[in-house]
Amino acid sequence: MRTDYTAAEMMTVTAARALENGMTCFVGIGLPSEAANLARLTHAPDVVLIYESGTLQTKPEVLPLSIGDGELCESALTTVSVPEMFRYWLQGGHIDVGFLGTAQIDRYCNLNTTLIGDYHDPKVRLPGGGGAPEIATNAGEVFITLKHSRRTFVRDVDFVTTLGFGRDGKGREGVPNIGKGPTRVITDLCVMQPDPETRELVVVSLHPGVTREDVCDATGWEIRFAEALESTPEPSARELEVLRELKERTNRKHAGE
């Protein structure tokens, strides 16, 4: 891997590039929020960012720590109630893409943010579903971004908090009024997409300097690679500059300076 950017930066820039200008994007907190705002500050100035706190078309100067930082409201076109957000804007069909993170993901893109272990006697209790279960089904499509590891990429999630394509890849078949589901997963190692037939995740692009072996080592099942495996384009100098400035502004703000 080259030394003038980190794997985390590579992930964020690649995730940002997935968003097209003009898309309406329902943004999860953390990595998705970082990527979505980078997109807005670079190639997609008219991307519409929507946070579940009710802030419509928001343009924060710094990344929010929480999903409801004041910055999100102050820079929004308008702020609606949370019931309105979920009913009119998400379920109402106005979201092109839901951008999610997760604690665990499996080969059929199912997401687990509920717990590790057994529900009634959990080893680790995670925060829970939040907005994700309905973002993943009511948005037109879903992008997912998270760090690649055997802890996060498991063959079968312990709990399907949020539907990818179900335990057998057929979870969306025959369901009316449902979005396309996950169309890409972006990690610090690669980009994956569901196989058009089986819906199992397939690596379609490796980040510069990353090997197939790196991905296999970090994935909890025998991950497949596309025949026409691509190499993810590197971040541009401008993308890196904008991202670093954004993160620096953010750190200064949240440190209370």
Partner: protein, 272 residues
């Protein structure tokens, strides 16, 4: 008609042991002062409802006030876990709590339905999720017009809701501004409600469609300056993100938590 009470008296009058209590505020305007008063008065066996439990519920759980939690996302936003919540769920300290877990969409709709006086909310939700397997309150109905299968959840009807807002006028009419969350719904859905405010003013001085809750729909108003801290009040003070980060270390350790609670809640006199 809203009565102007001290926070102590409002909590003493309306929050009973064993009650179903909702303290709302979506990141913004979280009623910390009211939550601390509930802790100070030693309320027990509460069923707490809240979309995002946040630090205030971590504190109530750690203080031993809670036997059941109805929620949809229980973390320290942008920081990590709620360690007091986890300790109660995973290790039963200071007591085991029962969880009833929803998605945000379902809870938001359940608040809406509660405010609307309905027994249920209907949504296009929980498709393919395991949550209906562990929450028997999630059912499915068939639309009588299209045949589509839709999720149904019981509406939320708390015994008492506690929310914080920017200001009230002398008749108890309350302005909520900024990220309004489900606060209006929480108040309207509840049998009783306590609204803490930063200040009482002569005139709310608002636009025609501002989010105003009339005094006759509220049980009690209590002044609690900085009553949302370390959450924030749009137009008054910012979120103390540093405290949210610092909470992680405090809450991780039972002793550190207990010491914090003594210093900042139990021995903090009236409104903290």
């Amino acid at each position: 008609m809203a009565e102007l009470l001290s926070l102590h008296d409002a909590v003493a009058r309306y929050v009973e042991d064993g009650a179903t209590v909702c303290m709302e505020g979506f990141t913004h305007l979280i009623p910390f002062a009211a939550g601390h008063e509930v802790i100070r008065q030693g309320k027990r066996e509460l069923t707490l409802i809240r979309m995002t439990p946040d630090l205030v519920y971590d504190q109530l759980i750690g203080a031993g006030c809670v036997s059941k939690l109805i929620f949809s996302w229980g973390g320290n936003p942008g920081v990590g876990s709620l360690h007091r919540l986890r300790d109660a769920v995973e290790k039963g300290w200071p007591q085991r709590i029962e969880l009833l877990e929803h998605s945000h969409a379902a809870m938001a709709c359940a608040f809406e339905a509660g405010a609307a006086g309905l027994p249920l909310a209907v949504l296009r939700g929980y498709v393919g999720s395991d949550l209906p397997k562990v929450n028997d309150q999630i059912k499915f109905i068939d639309c009588p017009f299209t045949g589509e299968r839709l999720a149904a959840v019981p509406s939320i009807r708390p015994d008492v809701s506690l929310v914080h807002a920017q200001k009230a006028d002398r008749k108890g009419n309350v302005l909520v501004e900024g990220i309004v969350g489900v606060q209006k719904e929480a108040v309207l859905a509840a049998r009783h409600s306590i609204v803490t405010v930063e200040e009482i003013v002569d005139d709310l001085d608002v636009e025609p469609n501002a989010c105003v809750i009339p005094g006759w729909a509220i049980s009690a108003i209590a002044v609690a300056e900085k009553g949302a801290y370390p959450s924030y009040a749009h137009g008054y003070y910012d979120r103390d993100n540093r405290f949210y980060k610092a909470w992680d270390a405090i809450a991780r350790d039972r002793d550190a938590f207990t010491a914090w609670l003594d210093d900042n809640v139990h021995n903090a006199g009236g409104q903290s």
